[in-house]
Subunit: 249 residues, 2 copies
Amino acid sequence: MPTDHIMKTYDDELKRLNNAIIRMGGLAESQVAASIQATVKRDSELAHEVVEQDAQVDALEAEVEALAMRLLALRQPMARDLREIVSSLKIASDLERICDYAANVAKRSIALNQAPVAKPVYAIPRMGKLAQALIKDVLDAYVQGDADKAMHVWLSDEELDELYTSLFRELLTYMMEDPRSITAGTHLLFMAKNIERIGDHATNIAETIYYLIHGTPLKEARPKRDRSSTSVVLPGPVAVATTDSEETK
Amino acid sequence: MPTDHIMKTYDDELKRLNNAIIRMGGLAESQVAASIQATVKRDSELAHEVVEQDAQVDALEAEVEALAMRLLALRQPMARDLREIVSSLKIASDLERICDYAANVAKRSIALNQAPVAKPVYAIPRMGKLAQALIKDVLDAYVQGDADKAMHVWLSDEELDELYTSLFRELLTYMMEDPRSITAGTHLLFMAKNIERIGDHATNIAETIYYLIHGTPLKEARPKRDRSSTSVVLPGPVAVATTDSEETK
């Protein structure tokens, strides 16, 4: 029957869209892992590979967009299907940003390799591991259509924010103690910020999954423990002041 | 006639969506301007206002999303109308990020006000002015449906990238000369990065406008002159090394 055929094609197309998202997610996981690995092992070759792989991510995002537009134009989807398609656009955009941040971490690791090992680099794999777990869990939530799991990711990002804020202060103190470490310290600051932002994008995806499943946007404001924007670290005997205001979401 | 009535409502709804984007754009312009003003005048009160206004931007983005989903579900738009609606989702997301960056600049200006004036702050209004011009021009391109104007914005962002890279190096040297300036220098680094990112989002919007008008995505890679990720600044007699690789888009 032609109707059946049409339905089957429609389902196939939705599945293709889903698969493209899952492939992008897998790539995001491996790009983040490789960028951290490159930093820890001081492996500039691996770092270059991460930077080069980024084009593949952009191509996948373009594929998602083309598929989604096709489905919207030809299938005139409603309700859950419509949310599925619009959500795929949002998730693809977040995954693309995650990969951009991974590529930037990789790029900065190459700059770091031109200087002696900077002690605070030890914190990067800790942050990286947390970020990777957030991406993995949010992708599981997407595949399983599990809004509770997505909410768990949404709440877990707080830990990454806290790690970032404490590393931010440590790096400031580190640079003050030895001005020769300022270039390395600055790259580490931005690398840490990139990883913190990867966590933010994982929580964006969690919010999208919540909306996809429940059909209403998540209203609550997410708890934010990154206070680095208002941190003041003074030189000399360590003095740290932080105002109470929270990072803007 | 009922058909006319339906058409009229549809047009009204598209117009409402358009207006919401234009309002968001206006808010983005004024938030960026106010955050720069707060930094230059060391006006913490104004900075707090910028941070508080951010909730309004989030509300406007939610309004755009709700309107767009409604149009997609009820009107089953095709071709240009469909692109118009999907583009509004993308543009709203970029405008929301621009406002986040403005709020973060404002927040960091409050931290800066706790220390003496940091000399390199002079570069912030220069970067801010450029970023504001990019937002203004890309919004004009949107309102006028002018793809050439959008492409002009897309190319102009290069200047902002160059300003950012040179400020990045200046700030590193500044912090090396006086470790007491490291906290202020770090906040300025992130403020400059935020403004550079605002430019990137203006170019994203330019790309969306190109797609909205031409119906095909822009294929070229944008020239990128931000080389800060690979910059190495050594202490002592100023030595600057920059590899040739370009910032990841």
